[in-house]
Amino acid sequence: MAQRTLFHDIWDFLRVRKAWWLLPVVIVLALMGVLAVASQVPYLAPFIYALF
């Protein structure tokens, strides 16, 4: 199978799951993700694990 990119995965995901209402947060996160989080972020201890 050809290598899929994260972008393709997310697009297919929104399409298949019909989760269009998530589009704004996904777009903004994608933009910010490119800009912001290039550094390694340490793992947070998932004490409240339903949220991490």
């Binding site: 994260l6 947060v25 996904v26 912001a36 989080v37 947070l44 694990y49 949220l51 991490f52």
Partner: protein
């Protein structure tokens, strides 16, 4: 065909290597990094798996990942969206790790493992289900998975037939028995996702009568439990959907006060609350199982997910439902899902026949006598070598009988959270003082927690009121049964306050040396049984390698270490002694 199963990024990261359908190696990352419940990418565990089988990453045909990260991300975003703007603080802390690693699993495998093949993604509960059905001894079995939460599912049921496995019904987040148990764990001042077993231990001290335990009625107000075991939580009582705390203000009010601080003493009220959540959990799980039996009419059941580690509940499955056989894998939490993902890929997706049943949990790293001796010599440690196994066993049995606490390091490390005779601390179960010695001086842990007895499988019914024949999960310390009344006073170290014991049954074919040690001890003491607790300091993972075992012995009051063919006495090596007490934490 070689498949690597991987679980990580949540808790208990682990790797499993499957070769032509047979699990050849499996281990959790925490044992290598020495960080309990380590969720980080299991680089060390993968390296161990490859090394154990003499393979390189280029030999691996496919990787099976234990969940669908985008579905989980969908759930998280949904929670944040639903609770906007209350969820801001958690969003800020949780999201960066998703953008850098958790969403980029394929890239992670390419970068960290240099793996270029296909990566398969399986749903979390399907991995749980596969991890218990495929290695079970059953051709056909009803399947129940119950945990905190996966992507969306918190409990699921279905059926496995030979290579086919289908989950047909689910309960979805936020309604979760696992999270209810965790909320009570947090309320009682213990760490969530780690100390649920303490609540289970504490529950034995509380009032177990639903009619008179007021907290049972209070908890039942939080959960609408249907006769078929399905349920819905009243989310007004919980904050875990949007905040870094589990019980809400309303929860605390209903239970009559704020959460217990970890330093506060445990009172009778806390014991009753622990008993109440245990009652509710058992009620829900046993109702689900009865419903599952009605649906499938299958005599066999397999159980998985974190809730399947609730051994008190497991001990009631055969007596309180119509199932005749039960199986649970030794690592039924998230770590075990790495095995499930690999097995599902091999059998269900690739259609390969089943040829493996997990009878031995010893799937981790092992060290030869030569390796151990080389370590001992390099550190100038005083030791005694035994060329005859029977002499080693006689000497060890004598030491235990004389009241010594023995570190037992033999063969390959166990798979799963329980010490099963490969990395164990052993002691005399008839010694009334040994429980305090172990709790206070060795493990530095709460005095209310019981110790487990290890018995040869043929003797289990002599000492315990267990199902007959003893279910296989008892080999993995996953079933609690009442100690027979006539033995309770004679076995003070392993009889819990309610007369129960979380026994481990030992089969000679699984671990001959351990089995023979119990027999040797029985010949001297008249009771072929040992106290078995995990070989670690509280707050640390179980020891994995010889240096960790030696260090653990020298930092605690373990008197001697029996490591492969060698016995090392603490008093002969006092220059290496240190005090582990300050390290003890949850």
């Amino acid at each position: 065909m070689k498949i690597l199963g991987i679980s990580c990024h949540y808790h208990d990261a682990a790797a499993t290597l499957l070769m032509d359908g047979i699990v050849v190696a499996a281990a959790e990352e925490e044992r290598f990094t020495r960080r309990k419940h380590d969720p980080s990418f299991p680089q060390n565990a993968v390296e161990f798996c490859l090394q154990q089988s003499g393979l390189g990453i280029e030999d691996i045909d496919a990787i099976a990942f234990y969940e669908k990260p985008l579905l989980k991300f969908e759930r998280l975003l949904t929670q944040h969206v639903q609770y906007f703007p209350k969820s801001y603080a958690v969003f800020r802390r949780a999201i960066p790790a998703w953008l850098t690693e958790k969403l980029r699993i394929r890239r992670l495998f390419r970068k960290k493992l240099k793996f270029k093949g296909d990566v398969y993604f399986l749903e979390h509960h399907l991995s749980h289900a596969a991890g218990v059905f495929y290695p079970s001894p059953f051709e056909e079995a009803a399947v129940l998975t119950v945990d905190g939460v996966g992507e969306w599912t918190t409990a699921a049921m279905g059926m496995g037939r030979r290579t086919h496995l289908d989950l047909t019904h689910e309960i979805r987040f936020p309604h979760s028995i696992g999270l209810l148990y965790s909320a009570v764990t947090a309320y009682l001042g213990f760490s969530v996702n780690n100390s649920e077993y303490k609540v289970m231990g504490l529950s034995a001290y509380g009032n177990k009568n639903p009619a008179t335990n007021p907290y049972y009625a209070a908890l039942r107000r939080m959960i609408d439990l249907k006769p078929d075991g399905s349920f819905r939580l009243d989310m007004g009582f919980f904050d875990y959907e949007f905040a870094e705390r589990m019980p809400s203000k309303k929860f605390c009010e209903l239970l009559g006060g704020p959460s217990r601080e970890p330093v506060e003493p445990v009172t009778a009220r806390h014991q009753d609350i622990a008993a109440a959540v245990q009652l509710v959990t058992e009620e829900a799980v046993l109702s689900m199982l009865r419903h599952l039996h009605r649906q499938t009419n299958c005599p066999n059941v397999v159980l998985s997910g974190g809730v399947a580690l609730n051994s008190v509940c497991n001990g009631k499955i055969l007596s309180e439902t119509d199932f005749q056989n039960v199986w649970i894998q030794p690592n039924s939490g998230d770590g075990g899902s790495s095995m499930g993902a690999a097995l599902y890929l091999y059998h269900a997706i690739l259609g390969q026949p089943r040829n493996y049943a997990l009878r031995s949990p010893y799937l981790g790293p092992g060290f030869s006598s030569a390796q151990v001796e080389s370590f001992l010599k390099s550190q100038h440690i005083t030791y005694h070598h035994f060329s005859s196994q029977s002499e080693l066993l006689d000497q060890t049995a004598q030491l235990i009988h004389s009241g010594k606490v023995v570190g037992w390091f033999q063969g390959r490390m166990e798979w799963g959270p329980r010490a099963l005779g490969a990395r164990s601390i052993l002691a005399n179960p008839c010694d009334p003082g040994i429980r305090d010695v172990l709790n206070l001086k060795v493990k530095h842990r709460e005095s209310f927690r019981p110790f487990a007895p290890a018995v040869c499988v043929e003797d289990a019914a002599t000492y315990f009121e267990c199902d007959n024949p003893v279910p296989l999960p008892a080999d993995f310390m996953l079933m609690v049964y009442p100690v027979r009344p006539e033995w309770r006073e004679k076995l003070p170290a392993v009889t819990h306050v309610d007369g129960s014991g979380r026994l481990q049954t030992v089969r000679r074919d699984a671990h001959p040396l351990y089995y023979d040690l119990i027999r040797s001890f029985g010949r001297i003491s008249g009771v072929p049984m040992l106290v078995n607790t995990s070989f670690n300091i509280r707050g640390e993972p179980m020891v994995c390698a010889p240096d960790q075992a030696y260090r653990c012995m020298m930092g605690t009051r373990i008197d001697c270490l029996v490591m492969e063919d060698f016995i090392i006495h603490r008093h002969e090596n006092l220059r290496d002694a240190w005090d582990s007490e300050s390290l003890a934490k949850d």
